[in-house]
Subunit: 409 residues, 2 copies
DNA sequence: TCTGATTTGTTGGTTCAATGAACTTATCGC
DNA sequence: GCGATAAGTTCATTGAACCAACAAATCAGA
């Protein structure tokens, strides 16, 4: 048996706190306020919301400005007495955070900056079932190079890349263990990518597609006060991710969220995994299409546009019941009050929701006094690309000085 | 619908880091080294293992000595050249950390100090099914008072109490929402306890019984390098807890780990929760006793000593298969590589393990290249009492200065 | 139009925890 | 008894945040 190369995080990291750690923490906190708060805050606003003094915030803000991470806007007269505040905003086009993805029927690149704006993106549709990793990653590298080129010419530095894959990926650095729907076995995809792109001094990380899509969704839901939820991503297989207090829980190896092989019926159909009656055989895309009497190669939209409406509704109801059962198990286990339907389930949500809700209200123990919300994903179009790029941004916000040092030398 | 009084933890807490935070962190780190490392370390050892300088460790150690949390042992000549090292150990009998528990057939108190030694304990067996909270908590308070009295007379200060209950408890401060096997509904048990004991200036917290038992188990497994596992606690019902990187994951409200109502068979027997085919109906204590043809009122040991050995083995095998199925769902979902069998499953482990292992190897996706270990719990006798007390200790180790300030004034 | 109130942002001295280098203490080996 | 070695301590230095005072820019009212 292969050993796990990604060492466990262990418990509390025993790292001494020095003066520099102080500044690191506070600098990150200030940048977080500027990046993640709706209205551009002034230095005084940040001082009030963080508890730092205005003097300290000023010093930290100056450092962030020097590092090119934030900028001042023109002062706005606030209709009140007093000197007008200078709003601070993340600097546009100051860096590239890159999300990459290879999935069953597309691959692509999305580049965002600290403001969250998409600087460039490119998605290529195709059929990547039963392929070999090398040529596909070469294609991805070519698309990447093409998308990045004009921005590099503009002089925008590259902060990092996050690659999303539909399979089991070890925490952060890989390798990929298994991607059944691509037909890929154990392979060090990061090595392939760094080689094909020549990215030697840029961090390249990878994660499961559902994990990164969930991260994008978490960013959408945070302003709404939703910090803990389970994200189900329907595709050919069914993946998922656990979001707890705003953070994705990767699990021991990074493989958490695999809800697709939850037992629905011990006498159910045989699954590709070798067991009987897995959720995937009831609510996976192929199962839904088959139950609706549609060609498996069609896109999911066919379910919504087919003429045989009655059969489709029945098929989706059955799928929704199975999904609701598996989600009930999940909710009892991890205790979340929100479920987000992503992937193919997002457009199908209106047909799935009633059955899912019914199963959940019957099976979730705490439902009577703390009801569970089920909703379609807000972040839809290639959410994993956005989630990957946002994760790169998150690393910078957590420790801005390491980035500014990398840039300023 | 009642609203959730325990506010969500939100994301990263936005608290400014001052110089005092530095000392707090480093002080906690030093104390952690002294409390949780096998051989009593010297100041120099701690400097080496933490990365702090010897000067800093000396200053912090002096502070901990002044606060009464640690003591120096006599220097040991190490058979090497150089001045002999002074081993630092947690101070014995310097404080009381208290675990309390009310369960279906017993209630009790256990008091430990920073060394982990049990200073006193008292467990009263009884039948607390279908009781009312008030008289039971009064009994617990009486046992508590009786156990604490001699230690209080000795002048040992009380650090805090953690109460374990077999039901859904909101994070840390309660209330208890539901304890089906006690027959208790929503009730503010902490208020009852503080009132009955007169503990006004001592923190009193509560949590699910399995959560706290898992914490005790985590302490046992940490030196062995196991930091992530799922703890299943078999009782009348079946509870559990998710331990991730050494920390119990409480979930949104504190109700995580409820594996007992995982679906095993959609056509299975009716469960008390109202659904069909829950795990509890296959592997709960009553189900096992019934399948073995034993009186439900007997203790589990009856399963091991009964004359009808064949029937018992079959009953346990069937229970083990159901448990294995539910655990497989769980492992795929949360990605742990270890499962710990606690509660009644600990003594039954030899009979359950083969069936559980077989189900897991068939259903866990990553099992082929990263096998899952299933083992009986190490911490057994009233583990939740120890876990509760240890959690109180953990609070002190995380921030020793707040404790020393409370003591020294 | 000027003055006072108000709020923002900056400046310079102060505080405090960790650092680093030198120093003291205590042992071992020869 | 002496040098080598390691543990623990002392003290001046560094650096980040704090505090209080100040400068800058606006509004409101006389």
């Amino acid at each position: 048996m292969t050993e796990h190369p990604s060492a466990p995080a262990g418990r509390s990291p025993i790292t001494p706190a020095r003066q520099a750690s102080l500044r690191e923490h506070n600098l990150g906190m200030v940048l977080d306020q500027i990046v993640n708060v709706v209205n551009p805050p002034s230095r005084a606003d940040i001082a009030a919301s963080t508890g730092l003094t205005r003097a300290t915030v000023s010093a930290l803000a100056d450092r962030l400005i020097a590092g090119g991470l934030i900028t001042e806007l023109a002062p706005v007269s606030s209709q009140r007495a007093g000197r007008p505040a200078v709003p601070l905003v993340p600097a546009p086009r100051s860096l590239m955070a890159i999300g990459l993805e290879v999935n069953v029927d597309y691959l692509g690149v999305r580049i965002i900056d600290l403001t969250g704006a998409v600087l460039a993106e490119q998605v290529v549709t195709g059929n990547f079932r039963a392929t070999r990793p090398e040529p596909v990653m070469a294609t991805l590298a070519a698309v990447f190079a093409d998308t990045v080129a004009p921005l590099t010419a503009e002089g925008i530095p590259l902060a990092g890349c996050y690659l999303a894959l539909p399979g089991l990926v070890d925490r952060k650095t890989g390798p990929l263990r298994l991607a059944p729907n691509l037909g890929w076995g154990p392979v060090d995809v990061v090595a392939l990518l760094t080689e094909a792109t020549g990215l030697t001094d840029t961090p390249v990380w990878m994660a499961n597609e559902a994990t990164l899509a969930a991260r994008a969704e978490a960013e959408m839901l945070r302003p709404l006060g939703v910090h803990s939820f389970f994200y189900v991503s329907g595709e050919i297989g069914i993946g998922g991710a656990i979001v707890n207090d705003g953070a994705v829980m990767p699990g021991r190896h990074g493989w958490s969220g695999e809800i697709g092989h939850t037992l629905i019926d011990p006498l159910g159909p045989l699954c590709g995994c070798g067991a009987l009656g897995c959720l995937e055989q009831y609510a996976g895309k192929d199962a839904l299409m088959r139950a609706a009497g549609l060609d498996l190669a069609l896109p999911v939209d066919a379910l919504l546009t087919t003429s045989d409406r009655g059969r489709t509704v029945l098929a989706l109801a059955a799928g929704g019941r199975a999904l609701g059962t598996a989600l009930s198990n999940t909710i009892n286990l991890i205790d979340v009050d929100t479920v987000v339907l992503g992937g193919i389930y997002a457009p199908l949500a209106p047909y799935l929701l009633p059955e899912i809700q019914q199963e959940i209200s019957a099976r979730v123990l705490f439902h009577p006094w703390s009801p569970v919300t089920v909703q379609a994903a807000q972040a839809t179009d290639y959410a994993a690309l956005t989630g990957g790029a946002m994760t790169v941004l998150g690393e910078i916000v957590r420790d801005p000085s390491s980035w500014t040092q990398r840039i300023l030398g």
